[in-house]
């Protein structure tokens, strides 16, 4: 066998091992009755965590199961499906995407080909088409063969404004938001337990990423707090029971970015200058600050350049 053959074989073994390991240590918690959460690592995707970095989960109704985000790889999606099957035989009738990002959606492959309806924000298909190749390449670069078979499904049920889904004696209220964390944010509210699944409209401990509009995000935060949910499940970080408390750090951070970028623009400071000076005292509050803060400044500065 030549060197490349050995490499491929070892990579295949590594991929198999990592799939099994993912299923073995797949943790699940239940913050509310019938609501199940798998918490991803508070890190960037890496071979060590297998891309398992986002919060994903499901809600069980009397008729069927609604999955909320499928995880960062096909292996994680499979582990999620296996976890569901340990609890119930009911079909997965909906797979709801909270937004277009790859750490939440590449597990879709595990649910494809069944009767599952993929549900997402109305802007999701266009956003996915614009990003799909890039996300695939990035996943392959980060995880190598462990990325194999991972695909984000094209949703067929698109949500604008507010719509409900019935999963059997249980109503989920889906709300599509104007551009905030991204231009595809969708929240899921379980009426029975008053559990709000925020997707990446809420980051706890891990630094929020602005891939949309900070001003829109601030408005969404106020509206989400006003819902007074009994339970909150963020896109990243631990669940909590107080929206006011859970959103505080993120709201302060976004507020600081907005205020300081506005001031930089008023003072004629360039984008490069702003990126190197704004908001570094926030470092102590956030995981992955060095990886994402400058990007956030870039996004907010360029957003506010066109503010009326």
């Amino acid at each position: 066998m030549n060197r490349s053959g050995i490499g491929l074989l070892l990579a295949a073994i590594a991929a198999t091992l990592s799939t099994e390991a993912t299923a073995d240590r797949f943790t699940l918690e239940s913050p509310a009755e019938g609501v199940y959460l798998h918490r991803g690592a508070q890190a960037d995707a890496s071979p060590a965590n297998g891309g398992d970095i986002a919060n994903i989960g499901f809600i069980i109704g009397s008729r069927c199961v609604a999955v909320i985000d499928s995880g960062g790889t096909a292996a994680i999606g499979s582990a999620l499906l296996a976890a569901i099957r340990k609890l119930t035989d009911k079909p997965v009738c909906y797979l709801i995407h909270t937004h277009v990002h790859p750490d939440h959606g590449f597990g879709d492959s595990a649910f494809a080909g069944s009767d599952t309806v993929f549900v997402a924000h109305a802007e999701f298909p266009a956003a996915l088409a614009a990003r799909r190749d890039h996300y695939r390449a990035a996943l392959r670069q980060t995880l190598g063969d462990a990325a194999s078979g991972s695909e984000i499904a094209v949703p067929t049920r698109l949500i604008s404004g507010e719509q409900t889904l019935d999963i059997g004696d249980r109503t989920l209220v889906l709300r599509a938001w104007p551009t905030a964390h991204s231009n595809t944010d969708l929240t899921v509210f379980d009426l029975r337990t008053q559990t709000l699944w925020t997707g990446d409209l809420l980051f706890v401990d891990r630094i929020p990423v602005v891939d949309g509009k900070a001003l829109g995000w601030m408005m969404a935060i106020d509206a989400l707090i006003a819902m007074k949910p009994a339970h909150l499940i963020p896109g990243h970080g631990p669940p909590s029971r107080s929206a006011e408390v859970a959103f505080t750090a993120q709201r302060n951070y976004l507020h600081k970015l907005i205020t300081e970028c506005r001031s930089a623009l008023g003072n004629g400071i360039t984008l490069s200058g702003a990126v190197e000076t704004i908001g570094f005292d926030e470092n102590k509050h956030w995981l992955l600050f060095d990886e994402y803060h400058r990007r956030n400044v870039t996004a907010v500065y360029t957003e506010l350049e066109w503010e009326e």
Binding site: D44, S46, D103, R132, T142, N183
Partner: protein
């Protein structure tokens, strides 16, 4: 021979990745293997048979972040080290992004009336790439500065953040001059164009979505009727194209920008420049 070397390198990478504990760095280095051939193709098409001086920091420098924090918006600055005089001036600046789908991001044309041939703008960076600035002087000599820019990770894609809004606002222009304006002294102007500047969506096999490319392709700036800067650009320049550049005010006069996009829509903006003042215009 070069191809074989490239292939061997790739084999080594994949073996190492399987044998050793994975590291993101080791896997992510791999794409660099193809760079040389892209640059040689671009070089052949733009500068066939011409010498390019690569130790040219005394003529041209390029500022770019080592890592593209936001793949859609990477600020870069081309800084030239000579005054624009009728005898000796930079007449063209080429901005190249090797590993983008369209590597020639912009070709700027300048004149002695530009004062300084410095340009700041923002580019999309699709993947790990060399970014190059090549200055062509009026005597035809070529000088290059380059920087390697690492791609951003995770969910950072070069796509626009709100394409619906970008389309709605296409054609708005903000034009400003940072004063005080002194006669004969190179002065900075900033031109911001609201535009999706998008490559369009490739036909996605699953969603069947397709949008044609829609971007700003031409830019002409004049001061008091004399050309200061013109540029052929494409979608390697970020959404809402933004340029900072110099001109030399001589007295009270009008700085005028005309922008044409790929639908042949044209947009223009004027700033009345007054000595001692600061000026801006929003259209």
């Amino acid at each position: 021979m070069k191809r074989i070397v490239g292939r061997l390198l790739l084999v080594t990478f994949s073996s190492a990745a399987a044998l050793l504990p994975f590291t993101a760095a080791a896997v992510a280095e791999a794409p660099q293997a193809s760079e040389v051939s892209i640059w040689s193709k671009v070089r052949g098409s733009l500068f066939a048979g011409r010498t390019i001086n690569e130790n040219a920091a005394d003529i041209v420098q390029l500022d770019a972040p080592s890592r593209a924090e936001d793949a859609s918006t990477v600020p870069i600055a081309i800084r030239t080290q000579l005054a624009q005089t009728p005898d000796r001036y930079v007449r063209k600046l080429y901005l190249l992004v090797d590993n983008n789908p369209s590597p020639i991001a912009a070709v700027f044309e300048l004149t002695p009336d530009s004062g300084r041939a410095d340009i700041e703008t923002r580019i999309r960076v699709e993947q790990y790439t060399d970014v190059r600035a090549i200055a062509e002087l009026n005597d035809g000599s070529l000088y290059m500065a380059s920087r390697f820019v690492k791609a951003s990770g995770g969910c950072s894609a070069p796509a626009g953040k709100d394409p619906v809004e970008a389309l709605r606002n296409a054609g708005r222009i903000k034009f400003r001059v940072d004063g005080p304006v002194v006669a004969g002294k190179p002065t900075i102007a900033q031109l911001a164009i609201s535009h999706p500047n998008a490559s369009g969506l490739v036909l996605d096999q699953v969603t069947r979505l397709y949008e044609p490319a829609y971007y700003v392709r031409k830019l002409n700036v004049s001061y008091a009727g004399r050309p200061v800067l013109s540029a052929d650009i494409d979608f390697s320049i970020s959404e809402n194209p933004n340029f900072r550049f110099y001109f030399v005010p001589t007295g009270d006069g009008e700085l005028r920008a005309e922008v044409v996009d790929t639908k042949d829509l044209s947009f223009d903006s004027q700033v009345v420049v007054k000595l001692g003042g600061v000026a801006s215009a929003i259209q």
